[in-house]
């Protein structure tokens, strides 16, 4: 018998007794105090990220990262100087100082942003860069994590990652370090998007 068939046979033979129905998932309410963007920003900052309500990408770069020389942009709002569409190996992005990407949506409950493969162009840029700027349309901030998991974005893409602040570790004596293996900082900039994205259906058809 193949490993597959013997494992499947074993879990079926050893099925636990009793009824174990799959529960329905209630939608739990969350009070954002009537200020969803403020709630989002507070939760983002509590996880070590930062948020800016308005402004140009170029100004943010000039103020926050004046020393940055290699800018990789995956958004039309800023040209950058490292082309992401012609990368032969992700390692070629190891020298990127700042990457600029757009989030599909944000989550107020946790201060998270969803980054997906299509928008990143090269997935690894969101981790190899030293700093990350994330553009987010404030109209795309969902209230709860539960809401996020009812959206097509999390299930449609081959790669979709919720980022909540920058990379972090507290593995040595509990001391918090930002910039463990990934980006050292994450800044969300509110910028409405003029290119709406639609998904064909709630579930991606099998290829």
């Amino acid at each position: 018998m193949s490993a597959r068939d013997s494992i499947l046979a074993a879990v079926r033979a050893n099925r636990p007794q009793g009824k174990h129905p799959l529960p329905d998932l209630p939608a739990f309410p969350l009070d954002d105090g009537g200020d969803r963007t403020g709630f989002f920003l507070n939760n983002l900052r509590a996880m070590g990220g930062d948020g800016v309500r308005e402004g140009e990408v170029a100004d943010l770069l000039a103020v926050r990262f004046p020393e940055a020389t290699v800018i990789a942009s995956a958004v039309p709002e800023h040209p950058g100087n490292r082309d992401l569409t012609h990368v032969t190996h992700p390692r070629d992005l190891a020298d990127v100082d700042v990457a600029i990407v757009r989030a599909r949506f944000g989550i107020a409950e946790t201060g998270s942003v969803l980054l997906v493969d299509d928008a990143l162009i090269v997935n690894a840029v969101a981790y190899l860069a030293q700093h990350l700027i994330v553009l987010l349309d404030p109209a795309d901030i969902l209230l709860t994590l539960q809401d996020a998991y009812r959206r097509p974005e999390v299930q449609w893409h081959h790669y979709a990652s919720l980022h909540t602040g920058p990379s972090a570790t507290a593995d040595i004596e509990g001391v918090l370090i930002h910039g463990a293996q990934g980006v050292r900082s994450l800044t969300v900039l509110f910028r409405p998007s003029d290119t709406p994205i639609s998904y064909p259906s709630a579930s991606r058809p099998a290829q």
Binding site: S2, A3, R4, S6, I7, L8, A10, V11, N14, R15, P16, Q17, P21, L22, P23, L25, P26, R45, A46, M47, G48, G51, R91, E109, T110, S112, A124, Y127, L145, A148, Y149, V154, Q155, H157, H158, Y159, A160, S161, L162, H163, T164, G165, P166, S167, T169, A170, D171, I172, E173, G174, V175, L176, I177, A180, Q181, G182, V183, S203, R204, Q207
Partner: protein
Amino acid sequence: MSGADEQRTAPDGLPALLHEELRAADDGGARGADGERLSHGEGTSRPLRSLPPEPQPRGAKLYHRRPVDHNEAAQRFIDAPRHAQMHDERLWDLRQKRDRQMHGIAEWEELRELASSIKQHTLANLGDYLEQFETQAKANGIHVHWARDGAEHNRIVHSILADHGAKSLIKSKSMLTEEVGFRDYMAGVGIEVVETDLGERIQQLDDEAPSHIVVPAVHKLRTDVAQVFADTLGTDPANDDVHYLAEQQREKTRPLILDADAGMTGANFAVAETGTFVVCTNEGNADLSANVPPLHIASIGIEKLIPRIADLGVFIRLLSRSALGSPITQYTSHFRGPRVGGEMHVVLVDNGRSARLGEPDFWQSLKCIRCGACMNTCPVYRRSGGLSYGATYSGPIGLILDPTFNRKRYSSLPFASTLNGSCTNVCPVKINIHEQIFAWRKALAESHDIGVGKQALMKAAGTVLSHPRLYRAAITTAEGALKLLPDFMVTNPLNSWTARGRDMPDAPRETFHQWYERTNGGREDEA
């Protein structure tokens, strides 16, 4: 209980700090963008003051065919006071952060109940969900493999690597790969494996197993890490600043990540509905491992399945809150298929799980989502260190998982518990951990897998505990016995509670029942 068990609060109302010097009001590194102190971890912009080194206590000594002696290793851990204190306080700190998160969510208990029910349902229908996951994953272009045991898993991964001519592999933390001896196997076939999680990398470089399933090097002090890095990475042995150490690891690991032939991750959840697997990390290392090399292999235990993508809305809300006391991990990544030009493999691993499913007393342990909350709250774990268990899984969850892998070797572990039930109370998927610990004691006694002393004690305890009146008589005399009996009888080796390092507790002046009668249930004044 030590003083550390009390809820400690700093002047700003947030949980107290582990490091006294971080109390300074002007320390910028500990604050977020809005100036508030970050409470999901401890930050400082300054080096902590240097301490003279205390040698790190090592884990349990392993002998062929002999049970692990948890007591002996735990005693050595306690004998290193600075290690023992930091360990105890750091883990209690995590427990307090978890409590703060829990109190912020009105539906917490409902979420635990949902998580438990979803897992029970999945396990009761695991064959169907595994097949559904396989179908979906294959449709998305993922290669799906099945491994009956650890050896088969290692052979499969080796053959995938060999097919690609891969000689180096970067990986993120995975308890499953610890369980199956993955790194040892790969060393034997000449493939270089590099752990990329900071804690796990420290443990790999020190040739030590992880001592905790979430914070692998939590038993080490920064002086230990400085020594390990000096010996293996050539860093300054005199510099034990945590920022310096973390930065050194980042800089030294980055080239290995960039040049690796393949990447490996585990998975926290595998979604049958969509064929997605989910990896939750804080450092960004799993996403680098998955997204930089052209080949991504994920090793997934078959118990990681959940039915629906929407179920993640329950589990992700519970996982990091229970583990670290943060509302979510910095990264929650969903993999549904290979990236353009890349290749993705999933290995579904049984390794004893299907057999455990058939054990009525123990199958619920398969609900575990590896958050470590039971370890953080356990008074025995906090004071003995994870390596004293001499097993892949330590702490309360380890006590009930390890004997399933090797009944004889881990026969003494279910006794490393006070059965206080705190583990069960904090478990986000409501595993009845302390009841299973007791059930293991019974099972091991019945199969004569434990020593004579523990068997005799179990029998006596069983008789006394099953007869309430005998029990009350026994505890009424406990104080008298402790006072009158010569010490050699109280600390008789037959009394397995009084190993070295466990003093016999002071017996209370009167029992609850005596107090209740005397004061009419507390309604009358205390005399």
